[in-house]
Symmetry: C3
Subunit: 354 residues, 3 copies
C-alpha cells in the first residue's frame, strides 16, 4: 500500500458540503460526510456494519444517519443509537469516525490514527489572510493516475517547458538548471529564468512588454500539498531571489488527494498579489489554469496506463529528477513508520478483544 | 462455488420461448433453448464441443441445431447427428441436456444430476388454478448482485419499512418484531402490524379508509423461490392469523435465478384474491411492484459493490436476521451435500473413462 | 506467451504512415512509427525510458522524437540525442528499434532479434508485379480474439459453407473432403467442388451461367499470413488442378497481426486475374469481402469469449481439423525454439551487465 494515512487530506471546499449526505473516498477509504445542525462537519465510515450498505445511500435524521436497508442509525460520533426490532445496541454496532477541520474554506480530513490528529499541522500560509493578496478557489481535477505521479509532477519544474509550452513555460527555460532543497516536511525545487520574453500567462496578467526575470518555486509539503510560487518581474529591476513580492507573484496551490491506487483528485486554487478584488481576473486565470492542468492530466493518465504494462527495464533517473526522487523517498519513509506503528496497534487491538 | 445445482430454476415465462434459439445462463452454465415441433422445450449446453462456438449462434434445422462454424449438428437429446466431412460420429460429440418442465406458463430447468430431476418437486400453489384467484405474470428484474443477497432480501420483512416506505411499508412497522419458522424446504418470516393506517399499496387496492391489520409472510422455498403473502383487513374484523383469505390478499412470487456470482434474474408475478379478471388492475399493480423492486435493486447492487471491497470487520448480526441466517445455513448444507455427491460422481466417471 | 517474435508482421499499408507519429501495438509491444525525411520508415519502442510516457505523445523534431514530458529526445536509431538540464547522455538513455521494410505498399516490422531480420524472408508473390493481375488493398479487420484462432480460420476451408453460405460458400461443399499438405513454412488445405452452381461471389464476378468447378486453396505462411486462392471455371473446361489461371482466380490475402492476447488485426487485400484496372470492381469486391469477414469476426469473437469461460471438457478434433492442428503444432515449435534461444540471450545479457 502506498498511502500515508497519518495525514490531513483535502476532502473539498467548504461550499461542497451541506445538509445532504456526501459520499467520497480518500486513501481507499469510503466516507460519508455531512454538515451538522451546529455547522460542524462530520466524516464517518461509509458502510453499515450490518449488511454493508453505504450509509450515504441512507437518510439523514437530525445529526444521525439511518441506514437505507434496515434502519440502523448512527450518531455523529459513529455510535449506533438505534437497531430497529431490538432494544439492545451491540458493542460492535458502530462506524469509524474521521477528524475533520475547516480552514480558509477548505475541508481537511485526517485519515489515520485519531490520537495523532492535530489541526495545527494543517497546511497554512499567511497570504490567505493578507489583504494585499487575493485568494480564489479554482476547481478539482480528477486524474486516473497514482497520486505519487501527480504530486511528483508538482515538484518538477523541468516539465513546464515541454508540457505547457503555450501557457506556463517556454523554450527559454528548457536547459535552465533546477535547484532543490529539502527539510523534513517540505521539498523545494526552483529555478530562475532571467532576461527572457514573458510566457503566455504573464503576457496576459503582468502586462509586461519587455523581457522579464521569471521564477518557479515548487514547494511540496508532505504528503501531497503543493505551492507553486511563480511570477515575473521586469528584468531591469534585477530582482533578488528573496524579493519576489516586488514582482507579479502567484501561488498556485494543489491539494492532492489520493482516492485509490488508480485515481487522484487535485483540488486547485490560487493566491495572487495582483488584481486583488478583480473577479473577472480570477475567472480568466482559472481558464488558463484549466488549459495547463488538462495538459498535465493527459500526460499523467498516459503514464499511468503505461505503468500497468510489463516493464522490461528500470526507468532511468536524470539530473532534473532530484525533487521527485527526494519526495518518493520521504513518502516511503513515512509509510514505513506507519506500518511499524500499525503492527503495534494491531497487536494491542487483538489483546483488547480476546 | 455457491450454487445449488440439484434444483429447478426458472428460465422464463412460457411466452419467452418459441422456435428461435434462445441463449441464457443459469448457475454459470450457458444454455441454448428452443421449442420443438411437438411443443416441448429443450435445453442444451450452449457450446459446441468442437471449437466452442455457442450453439445459439448456429441455426435450427427441424429439432436439431447446426453449429454456425463447421456445421456439427445436435439433436434434442444432445447427441451429434452429423459431422460434415466425415462419416463416423465420435462418442465425445455430444452436448449436455438439461431437463425442462413447464407448469402454469412458467419454464423450469433442472441444473443438476438429471437422475434426480423430479417435476413433482417443482414449486406449486393451489391458488394458481383457483378461479377465486387471479394469476398475473409481471416481469424479470436483472440485478447485478449475488443471488444469496437477492433471496435473503425475500425472507427479510424488516427491510420493508426502510426500503419501501412509500409503497409496501411504513414507519408503523419499523419496530414490530419478526417471527421465523423453518422446516426442511421452507423458511417463513412474518409479522403482523395491527391497527395502523393502510400503506400506499392497500390505499390503492383495498379501498381501505380506516385502520387495518396488515400482514407480511415471507416464505422462501429452497433454493430461491419466494412467496410474499401480504395483505390487509379492516381492523374491526380482528382477523385471525390463519384467516387471511378473508382480507385483501396478495402473493408476490419471486423466482430467483442465479446467473453468475455477480448477476441474478428475479422473475416476478403475483396471485391475488381481489380484482379477479381486471387486467387494468394487474397493470397498475405491476407499476407499483416495479417501483418497489427498483428500490430493492438499488440496495442490492450497492451492497454487491461494497462486498467486493476489502472487509476489515465481520458484518454484525441482528435480531431481525433470523430468516436470512437460517436461509444461508440451509444453502451451505445443500451445497455441501452436492459437493460430497459430486466427488463420488467424478470418481465413477474417471473409472468409466479410464 | 503465444507469440512468435522472430517474424515480420504487417504494421499497415504504406499509405497509413506519414510524417505524424503513429502509435501501434504488435505482439504486445507498443511501437511509435513515422516516415523520416528520406522516406524511410522507423519503428521505435513507444516508451520513454525516463518516466514511461509513450513517445507517440511527444513531438517530432526533424527525424527525432522529443518526449512530451521532459523533452528527452531520441534519434531514428533509438539513441538519446538530448537530455534537457544536463550535458551527458547516459548509456541507458535509448529506446529499442525494430527493423521495418516496405514492399508492394505494405509495411512490415520485425519484432524479434534484429540480427535475424532478413527482408528476403518477407512474404511475396510474383502476381504482385504481374501486369495480368490486379492488386487491391482492402482494409483492416479488428477482431477481439486470439490471433491463433484468426489464423487457424484461414487454413480451414470447412467453415466456408456454414459461416459464409451467401457469399463465399454454399451447401454443395458441406461434405467435400479437405486435403492438407505442409512443408516447413506453409500449410495448405484445399478442396475442389466440381460441377456445382456458382456461389454468390462468382455469380457476380465470373458471369457464370451454368455449373462451375470451384476451388479453395488456403495457404497459411507461418506465422500468420494467409493466401486464399479461390476461383471458378466452367465445368465444361474440366480444369486440371494446376491450371487454375485459366479460370477466374482470386487471391485473398490476410496479414494477421497479433496485437495482444485478446486482440488481432487482419489487414486484407486481394490479387485477381480478372477485371484488371477496373476500380469499380475492386470496390464491389471489397463490399463482398466485408460482408464475409464480418461473419468470421462474429464467430471468432464469440469463441474468444467462450474460451475465457471454464472448460469442463477438452475440445474434440474432427477430420476437417488437419490444417489447424498442423498449424498450431508448428507455432508451438517456433515459440519453443525462441524460448530456448532467449534463455541463452538473457544469460549473456546478464553477464554483460554484471
Amino acid at each position: 500500500m502506498s498511502f500515508v494515512r497519518n495525514a490531513w487530506y483535502v476532502a473539498g471546499w467548504s461550499s461542497d458540503f451541506g445538509n445532504e449526505l456526501k459520499a467520497l473516498t480518500i486513501v481507499d477509504q469510503t466516507l460519508v460526510m455531512f454538515r451538522c445542525a451546529d455547522g460542524a462537519l462530520v466524516a464517518l465510515e461509509d458502510r453499515c456494519p450490518h449488511r454493508q450498505l453505504p450509509l450515504s445511500k441512507g437518510k439523514r435524521i437530525g445529526d444521525t444517519i439511518q441506514c437505507g436497508y434496515h434502519g440502523m442509525t448512527f450518531g455523529r460520533d459513529g455510535k449506533c443509537v438505534r437497531v430497529p426490532g431490538q432494544d439492545n445496541l451491540p458493542a460492535s454496532a458502530y462506524v469509524e469516525t474521521y477528524p475533520v477541520h475547516e480552514q480558509h474554506q477548505i475541508v481537511w480530513v485526517w485519515m489515520g490514527d485519531p490520537d495523532q490528529a492535530d489541526p495545527d499541522d494543517i497546511f497554512d500560509l499567511p497570504e490567505f489572510s493578507d489583504p494585499a493578496w487575493q485568494a480564489h478557489q479554482g476547481s478539482a481535477l480528477h486524474i486516473k493516475a497514482h497520486y505519487l505521479n501527480v504530486a511528483e509532477n508538482l515538484v518538477d519544474p523541468a516539465h513546464v517547458s515541454f508540457v505547457h509550452p503555450t501557457t506556463l513555460g517556454s523554450a527559454a527555460s528548457e536547459n535552465v538548471p533546477v535547484h532543490v532543497r529539502a527539510n523534513d516536511d517540505i521539498i523545494v525545487a526552483w529555478r530562475w529564468i532571467r532576461d527572457a520574453a514573458p510566457v503566455g500567462f504573464f503576457q496576459d496578467f503582468g502586462g509586461f512588454k519587455g523581457h522579464v526575470d521569471r521564477w518557479h518555486y515548487y514547494s511540496l509539503h508532505l504528503p501531497s500539498t503543493a505551492v507553486i510560487d511563480f511570477g515575473s518581474a521586469d528584468t531591469s529591476l534585477n530582482l533578488a531571489e528573496d524579493d519576489r513580492d516586488a514582482g507579479v507573484r502567484i501561488f498556485a496551490l494543489h491539494f492532492v488527494t489520493p482516492v485509490t491506487e488508480d485515481y487522484t483528485i487535485d483540488h486547485w486554487m490560487h493566491l495572487r498579489n495582483t488584481a486583488v478584488g478583480d473577479s473577472e481576473a480570477s475567472e480568466r486565470m482559472d481558464r488558463m489554469f484549466e488549459v495547463a492542468f488538462a495538459e498535465d492530466k493527459a500526460i499523467l493518465e498516459a503514464i499511468h496506463l503505461e505503468e500497468m504494462r510489463p516493464q522490461k527495464r528500470r526507468p532511468i533517473r536524470l539530473a532534473i529528477d532530484k525533487g521527485p526522487t527526494v519526495y518518493r523517498k520521504r513518502i516511503r519513509d513515512l509509510i514505513e513508520i506507519e506500518v511499524t506503528e500499525n503492527l503495534g496497534a494491531v497487536r494491542s487491538t487483538f489483546v483488547q478483544h480476546d
